[in-house]
């Protein structure tokens, strides 16, 4: 895969090899970024910091081992695979994860409800049931309000949080044109473009639907990519927009929050009742063994459910990343651009700690927080929001054969 001569899948149009954009560093109001390399380097860049990998002291060696890992992984995919196959596969897996999430919510609700009805005898139930009903309504209103708020103004808040500044066409015509080209390819309205004054390499998309979409890119990433690579990155972001990923991950986050809240409320209530010495077993006649079993199951579920929900949420997030990669190729018909960009991103070790947190990490093209990127071949962990870069590059390069 490393040596692929003259690959040019697109039939139309010349593509200018991007030059470092003179406009970007001079954007008014942008913080100065010290230490950005002035010259663009077309070769994939090795990691700059090696402090966590003493056994591999030299960057070129690390890079070539990434190449080997990618090459081996590519063989796992059938040679006839197209981006359409990838998209179908990703959609199936996303639908499965969504189903698991809903089923989890239904099961946990039913079991907790059953346990509560066993647990609370008819005599004392009215007050507690009334209280818990009020609590449930309050929780629903709070969750709904939160979801509605993030639905309508979440993207602006996120852009503010990332210190993103809106970009006018005169400041960077090339970036503007690249985004416009992709928007045309996807039949999407032109999104707003923002720049983040940070030397770390990253980009994200936000917006509840294509009409309200925005893409943001850090100055660090903007300056290091060629036009083809930039096109790949922007296509990945617009694919998120096109697939309504922002809306879906919001829905996911709301459900995870609700499950966590419900189980938490259940655990607190049982603890409270248990402490006041009026549990099912102390009452003797009311429940018996049925209540005990239901209660034990509910307790175990209440502890496990939030963890399982979070794992499903992250698996879903990783799936959407793969889907956006495949969707980017659908738009550009050029897997190489995005694959090369991801290779460059793999070499970047700067975390975006000031502007990103766990809540917004899944929005970015690569995990802005993780140390994982220092070792791109690391396997996906259950709780990571992004798939390993090696695997993403391998899937893209599988399309290039």
């Amino acid at each position: 895969m490393a040596e692929r001569p003259g690959h040019d899948p697109r039939a139309f149009g010349p593509r200018a090899q991007g030059s470092p954009i003179p406009g970007v560093p001079g954007i008014p109001g942008m913080p100065e970024i010290p230490g950005l390399p002035g010259s663009r380097d077309d070769k994939p860049q090795g990691p700059k910091k090696q402090d966590d990998q003493p056994e591999r002291p030299r960057p070129p060696k690390e890079e070539s081992s990434l190449n080997i890992a990618v090459r081996e992984r590519v063989k796992a995919y059938p040679g006839t695979m197209t981006f359409l196959d990838l998209i179908r596969k990703n959609k199936r897996q996303s639908a499965l994860l969504m189903f698991i999430m809903i089923a989890l919510g239904v099961v946990i609700g039913a079991v907790i409800g059953a346990a509560m009805s066993f647990y609370v005898g008819p005599s004392e139930s009215s007050i507690l049931l009334g209280a818990s009903a009020v609590g449930a309504v309050v929780a629903l209103i709070a969750a709904g309000g939160g979801a509605a708020w993030s639905f309508y103004s979440g993207s602006d808040a996120l852009l503010r949080m990332a210190h993103a500044k809106p970009l006018a066409k005169e400041m960077d015509p090339e970036l503007f044109n690249v985004v416009e080209e992709i928007a045309i390819a996807g039949g999407l309205p032109m999104p707003r473009i923002y720049v983040i004054g940070d030397s770390a390499m990253n980009a994200f998309a936000t917006g509840r639907d294509p009409e309200h979409a925005a893409v943001a890119i850090t100055v660090g990433l903007r300056q290091k990519l060629t036009r083809d690579e930039l096109q790949g990155v922007m296509a990945h972001e617009l694919a998120h927009v096109r697939h309504y990923d922002i809306r879906f991950s919001l829905l996911m986050a709301t459900m995870v929050g609700l499950i966590a809240f419900a189980t938490d409320a259940f655990l607190r209530t049982t603890w409270h009742i248990g402490a006041s010495g009026r549990g099912a077993r102390s009452r003797g006649k009311g429940g018996g063994s049925g209540a005990g079993i239901a209660f034990a199951i509910a307790l175990i579920l209440a502890v496990l459910a939030p963890i399982v929900a979070a794992i499903v949420q992250m698996a879903y997030s990783r799936q959407r990343e793969y889907l956006a990669d495949a969707g980017a190729v659908e738009l550009t018909r050029n897997p190489k651009g995005l694959a090369d960009a991801l290779r460059k991103l793999a070499g970047d070790t700067d975390p975006l700690v000031d502007t990103a947190n766990r809540g917004s990490a899944h929005m970015y093209i690569v995990n802005p927080l993780s140390k994982m990127r220092r070792n791109p071949r690391e396997r996906a962990s259950l709780m990571s929001s992004h798939p390993p870069l090696m695997e993403r590059i391998a899937r893209l390069e599988a399309l290039m054969r």
């Binding site: 139309f12 149009g13 010349p14 090339e174 996807g186």
Partner: protein
């Protein structure tokens, strides 16, 4: 008993009617997407026509004696504008637009020989705009073909093909390039 039978028939009839309406609207929506996709190609072609006079003027200032190349571009542009853009003239239009592309690429290739021209900021801007417009034309064509693909899929697959047949939804053709010369991306060198 009669009422039950009649009721069942009525329900089935309503369901089928709703299904037909949904499929019909879906087909119409996809056909509109095709028309819109075609119109978007024209928008980008028009953008290219608009950029050319500026480019020709700028190049003239530095390389006025490259008359043949400049005139070829102007002539190809005139020719391309004169052909209306509809399904009947699609092949002809594609051919002429291809000629315009190659005339433009020759012009830009010649510009390489003039360092002063290459240092001119407005020329560089025009070059970027023109390169991007070429890409946009390509992407608009790609998007048009995507919309045609979705329309044809709905039109030809069962059971929506029944509705498409009854209401005479006509076939839409993909945009294709006629000959190999046009399929080649115009060689525009943007040497550093």
């Amino acid at each position: 008993m009669l009422w039950i039978v009649l009721g069942v028939i009525a329900v089935v009839f309503i369901v089928v009617l709703l299904w037909i309406i949904a499929v019909y609207n879906g087909l119409v929506k996809r056909r509109i997407d095709c028309d819109n996709g075609w119109a978007q190609i024209d928008v980008q072609l028009k953008r290219r026509y608009d950029l050319i006079p500026n480019l020709v003027e700028t190049v003239k200032g530095y390389a006025g004696h490259e008359k043949d190349t400049l005139e070829a571009v102007v002539k190809a542009r005139q020719q391309a504008i004169s052909i209306t853009s509809d399904a009947a003239h699609a092949a002809e239009k594609g051919k002429v637009e291809g000629e315009l592309s190659s005339a433009l690429s020759r012009l830009l290739a010649i510009s390489e020989a003039y360092p002063d021209l290459k240092a001119n900021t407005s020329f560089l801007q025009l070059q970027e705009e023109l390169a991007s417009t070429e890409n946009k034309i390509g992407f608009a064509r790609q998007h048009f073909n995507d919309t045609v693909g979705r329309y044809e899929e709905a039109r030809q697959t069962f059971p929506s093909s029944i509705v498409a047949g009854v209401f005479n939804f006509d076939k839409r053709a993909y945009f294709t390039l006629e000959d190999a010369q046009q399929r080649e991306a115009p060689k525009v060198s943007f040497g550093s």
